[in-house]
């Protein structure tokens, strides 16, 4: 299971980097989103995968004490997702404002805008 997830994470990182380097700002934002999804999955995998185990159990239940799931990576991923979502929202507003101000969403034109 970890191998499959590791391959998926690798593919997501590759797709993210590819999109980051594209010309359009929208693809740039999509690239950042893929990148952040890949990172979140990475935290998930490194936290340890135990199929079907709960994280918390009340006292007296001994069936789960062998291999409980770690709750901490899930908290980390939630935090990371929320931070990522807030920043993506900001970036989209920035992109729209940039389009309004300059009329272009082509990143190659950034250099010309700078020299104007």
């Amino acid at each position: 299971m970890e191998t499959l997830l590791a391959i998926v994470i690798g593919l997501l990182y590759a797709a993210g980097v590819y999109l980051l380097l594209r010309r359009s700002i929208v693809k740039l934002i999509l690239g950042i989103m893929f990148f952040s999804h890949a990172t979140n999955l990475l935290i998930f995998v490194t936290g340890g995968l135990h199929k079907g185990q709960p994280q918390f159990a009340s006292e007296g239940i001994h069936a789960v004490s062998a291999n409980p799931t770690d709750p901490l990576p899930q908290a980390l991923i939630l935090t990371a997702i929320v931070i990522g979502f807030g920043i993506t929202a900001f970036f989209m507003a920035l992109m729209y404002r940039f389009y309004q101000a300059t009329g272009t969403e082509d990143l190659d034109d950034l250099k010309e805008e700078e020299n104007k």
Partner: protein
């Protein structure tokens, strides 16, 4: 004992008061200033207390060390908190007149306090994921400050800044994930304890390199610094001064914290790497600075060059080296912010930042020349200003540790630094005003007091740091000794 949490709580409460007072625009600058002043007073009190009582620790929520988030103030953190307080006060006063009404009415002050909250949080936290959260708080506040006003060049610079810093945060997060998977803990002291006992270092290298890349991007180190000159010159000068003083230094702080506290196993790889990277950063930063004609661009490239000195101090890794890096950070934060504020003053009386269009300020504004001379020549390293002692400590530590190449490079870069500062001096102050430039109707404007007071304040601090080196150097040495022995930190946090 709630003391370590106060540097975070005071800016937060200030933000709340500022948002309540959103209607009465007149009160906003004063509330911001009061908050900043409280921050400075608290940080000085914390510094004194750390000196007498040792490391201050707060386990938030009363969860014990490896399970909850700990806030730790040791000597290094207290020095950085004092510096952030000084910058907070200066920018709060300066922006009363330097930032236009429109920006001030759209959450400028709350965002400055938000940035300060993130910076203070990064300085006091003892948990690596909490550090990531404070980095994001600081980053988001800086995004907003960078784009507030919506001018075209601001948006242009913001896209580059946002993208590269987001990628840096994601690398940081990946490093945290891998490190957690390997060690099972996020607490810095516990990590230090566990890593000092582990010997399987191969799995650690990935997260160490990811952290290095993330902090290098934040600290604007070669070859990751290209976002800085692309974006720092676009917002109003008060914002640039705030960024120049604090943002990159938080990256350097995180690097020093990580590579002295827990990533100490692989010294043979990391320390030469730091020296090489520091050397390249210094040289490339100062050479590109010498070729610019916009004052803010010269100073932006200059930031990069000075960061190289701090990384060099970390790479030398003796008490002298790290104490030199800390002293240099203190001197640089003050002097760099001061030069940006003076650039704002120059713009106020000449209408431009372009060195080819202005001149003759030595005759028309002699006091402005003095105010520029103190931080600029401080940065260049002329005695008895603070920069001279910073460079002296670093370079002598380098020679004593046997790192001759980097010390010679640092000396040479000091010469080029002098050149770039003298260039601004020549072009803006010494040479007569070029005939071809259009006349500026605000030439005889009186500079508002609120813009001059912070410049004088920071200039006095630079002079004090130069004339009264000994106590400040002692503080830096104390912090360096604490940093180089992780057991003190582990003992204070976990009681082991």
């Amino acid at each position: 004992m709630i003391l370590p949490a106060l540097p975070i709580l005071i800016p937060l409460i200030t933000i709340i008061f500022l948002l309540f007072n959103f209607i009465k625009q007149k009160w906003q600058p004063w509330i911001g200033f009061t908050g900043a002043l409280l921050q400075l007073a608290l940080s000085v009190f914390l510094a004194v207390r750390v000196k007498t009582h040792g490391i201050l620790v707060l386990h938030t929520g009363n969860w014990e060390a490896p399970f909850g988030i700990t806030l730790v103030v040791d000597a290094f953190s207290s020095v950085m908190l004092v510096l952030s307080g000084i910058i907070a006060v200066s920018i709060s006063i300066y922006s009363i007149d330097a930032v236009d009404r429109k920006r001030q009415s759209f959450f400028f002050y709350p965002m400055v306090q938000g940035l300060l909250m993130g910076v203070n949080g990064a300085f006091v936290t003892g948990d690596i994921f909490n550090l990531y959260v404070w980095f994001e708080v600081m980053l988001t506040a800086s995004f907003i400050l960078l784009t507030l006003g919506g001018e075209k060049k601001q948006l242009n610079g913001a896209i580059k800044y946002v993208t590269i810093n987001l990628v840096s945060s994601l690398f940081f997060l990946a490093g945290i994930g891998l490190l957690y998977g390997k060690t099972g803990t996020l607490n810095m002291a516990d990590l230090a304890f566990k890593l000092s006992q582990a010997d399987n270092n191969v799995l650690l290298n990935t997260s160490a390199v990811l952290f290095f890349v993330a902090f290098s991007i934040k600290a604007a180190v070669f070859p990751f610094f290209f976002w800085l000159p692309a974006s720092y010159h676009t917002p109003p000068v008060a914002v640039t001064a705030l960024f120049a003083g604090l943002l990159t230094k938080v990256g350097v702080y995180a690097m020093i914290r990580f590579y002295t506290l827990f990533f100490v196993q692989d010294k043979l790889f990391w320390h030469p790497l730091f020296l090489w990277i520091g050397g390249f950063t210094m040289v490339i930063g100062v050479l590109t600075a010498a070729s610019q004609y916009d004052i803010r661009k010269i100073l932006s490239f200059h930031i990069i060059s000075q960061i190289g000195y701090m990384i060099m101090g970390l790479g030398i890794f003796t008490v002298g080296g790290i104490a030199g890096a800390i002293f240099f950070m203190a001197h640089n934060i003050i002097a760099k912010t001061n030069t940006f504020l003076v650039a704002g003053l120059i713009n106020r009386v000449t209408g431009s930042y372009d060195l080819r269009k202005i001149g003759g300020l030595y005759k028309t504004r002699p006091w402005l020349s003095v105010l520029f001379m103190i931080p600029a020549f401080g940065l260049a390293g002329i005695p008895p200003l603070s920069g001279f002692f910073g460079k002296l400590i670093l370079i002598s530590a380098g020679f004593r540790a046997g790192d001759y190449v980097i010390s010679f490079v640092a000396l040479a870069v000091g010469l080029f630094t002098l050149f770039s500062m003298v260039k601004i001096w020549n072009e803006a102050f010494w040479k007569p005003r070029p005939e071809t430039s259009a006349p500026f109707e605000g030439e005889n404007n009186k500079l508002p007091a609120s813009m001059v007071i912070p410049v004088v304040f920071l200039g006095i601090i630079t002079l004090t740091m130069g004339f009264a080196v000994k106590p400040i150097l002692e503080m830096a040495m104390n912090a360096a000794v604490q940093l180089l022995d992780p057991r003190i930190y582990i003992q204070a946090v976990m009681g082991l």
